[in-house]
Symmetry: C2
Subunit: 403 residues, 2 copies
Amino acid sequence: MPEAAAAPTGDSGFGFEILAHDFASRARCGRLATPHGAIETPAFIFCATKAAIKGLTPDQMRAAGAQIILSNTYHLMVQPGADTVAALGGLHRLTGWDGPMLTDSGGFQIFSMGHGSVADEVKGRGQRFSQSSLIKVSEEGAVFRSYLDGARLTLTPEGAIAIQRKLGADLIVQLDECTPFHVDRTYTEKSMAMSHRWGDRCLAEFARGDDGRQALYGIVQGGVYPDLRAESSAYTRDRPFFGTAIGGSLGADKDQMRQVVGWCMDHVHPARPVHLLGIGGIGDILAGVAMGIDTFDCVHPTRVARHGWALMKGAEGERVNLRNARFRTQADPLDPDCPCPACARPAGYLHHLVKAGEPLALSLVTAHNVTTMTRLMAEIRAAIPLGRLAEVAAAWLAGDAEG
Amino acid sequence: MPEAAAAPTGDSGFGFEILAHDFASRARCGRLATPHGAIETPAFIFCATKAAIKGLTPDQMRAAGAQIILSNTYHLMVQPGADTVAALGGLHRLTGWDGPMLTDSGGFQIFSMGHGSVADEVKGRGQRFSQSSLIKVSEEGAVFRSYLDGARLTLTPEGAIAIQRKLGADLIVQLDECTPFHVDRTYTEKSMAMSHRWGDRCLAEFARGDDGRQALYGIVQGGVYPDLRAESSAYTRDRPFFGTAIGGSLGADKDQMRQVVGWCMDHVHPARPVHLLGIGGIGDILAGVAMGIDTFDCVHPTRVARHGWALMKGAEGERVNLRNARFRTQADPLDPDCPCPACARPAGYLHHLVKAGEPLALSLVTAHNVTTMTRLMAEIRAAIPLGRLAEVAAAWLAGDAEG
């Protein structure tokens, strides 16, 4: 297939410009343009799983510095359905978020459930299904059961594109089979080859209806095998995808994850934006940025907020537990340098709200965690052209021995 | 005791000015000044029960037009405790709400539980107690058990003032015994007399520590007996309270409630602000305003939002159920005249959020209900000087036969 060179950034449409490189790592700063505005990279993409950030309005997300949000095709297929989203005017109109958006292909949730490793997002919320909801996976696509009403749903590569077109996000993603860590090399290799064929079908379907309002990412699979990762990275590189997403199993621990990402980064298209799927720890982001990753997404910052954890620069484990009694009478803010609404109040108030189960705890702690992530990314972007990424990492990871 | 004439409104401190009268009813417009700013009356006071509006920040409350919020002394005594609130700088510092605030005395929750009629607020949230938590009521005060940890707590008239001083709201309320509907005249009369003695003890305790930063309301009791209501209204009128609150049992239905309020309004101090405790229905507010009530409070607008009900001008029953399937594909806003963030989106989105149990449903629907109440009060204030209150009532209650 012909190569689609990344277009220069324009006032409308898509483009990706690399603006600066770190001289001590592969880190880079860029500008990713979409019809709903541009984002400065490296950037974090916040998860509005079912077309809503849990507890924050788009205005609050903007105030917290968020540039881009994503929604999950799988969840929206189940509820309220892609046709309903389309009838209501698409995701931007629905949510009131007028900035860039991404949707995934739906594959991750379907397969993570099917393979017996229920996705974190799903664990956190909808506890209505008690067993695997994946009925069948074949060359054609995946058949699965709605966790809401048991309805039989089918997702093919063509369907994943059609549905994402109805949803209307700027950045969309090919369908892939997301293999878990425990499958063997033979399965991983066969699955990867099928994901590549699915990628080609997604490209064809995308080209058929392309109106310039969406751009498609290919996905790198290949599990924990360096040659497969190289092969899959080359696959995405040699096809006219707008961007590259690194998916699949990234290994058993942080070290292996960084190793796997490294194998991919040696072979992906160097001029295209690279997204690392589902990674949101501060240390992991800093490591990913140093390897050249441009965007990240994860439910982590918003999910831990729901459980009373506040992300903190320099804290042990990258976060603090607001239920801890040491905060009970703390009249000072949690982080005096943080401009978020939670840190405009005494830390003891956040402790009270979390302990009392007040819904406002969710809003305020989520606003804090989103703000903390956008501050991290802003510090990273400021440091890269100056070659000071290591200083940023040292400051943010000061609380951890492994940092 | 000497009479404290309501002071004229100043730049700081307390005052109540009556600015306009309706010529067809006893309705009036006023300006109630506090050290944290003035509120235009008639006004609605929103319930931040445990020092937080459920799901909205103070900024969002301001944007929704709220002028004043209240917190419940009872709930704050139990969690996090008045001393903790004081250590954190008081309610204004805690919440970040810099406008006027009111606290109740704690009596309503203690007695409504003790008499076997659990308060609505408590039903909605903390379901951790299974029986009456009132241990003993005597001339001295009330002894009750914390629903959180079983701790024995005492509330006396002096204690209610001391605690409210620690909490630091602008407007505070005397301790009273809040009698339910089912008690007889003998009990009601004896209880009322005790509440009056408690009122005098509150006034004495208030005077001992008065630094000009708080103002005290007396409470009218007397159940459903016209002579007792007259006697209790006269009691508050003849004491140096800043304002008058109408409490206790207001009867078995809306008609009796309006009758009881009418008996009180014939005898309360005409120059002081009058607050009607715990009433928040649109029809009831319109009726209360016509009888001369200046302020109202109720958990109703925020509580029904949590269950997916949106308050609506002219709707049957004053509200609509967002779970109703008719909203599923409604791309138009719920109320095109409403400036709230919920009505900036398709109604179908709100339906989706409510059905999916998304936390954002709470924020958006609460913002809508708060906005709807502040729009109602603004229309009421605009209509009173023009003698057009009946037109406002007709428009808002168009959906109800009884309106």
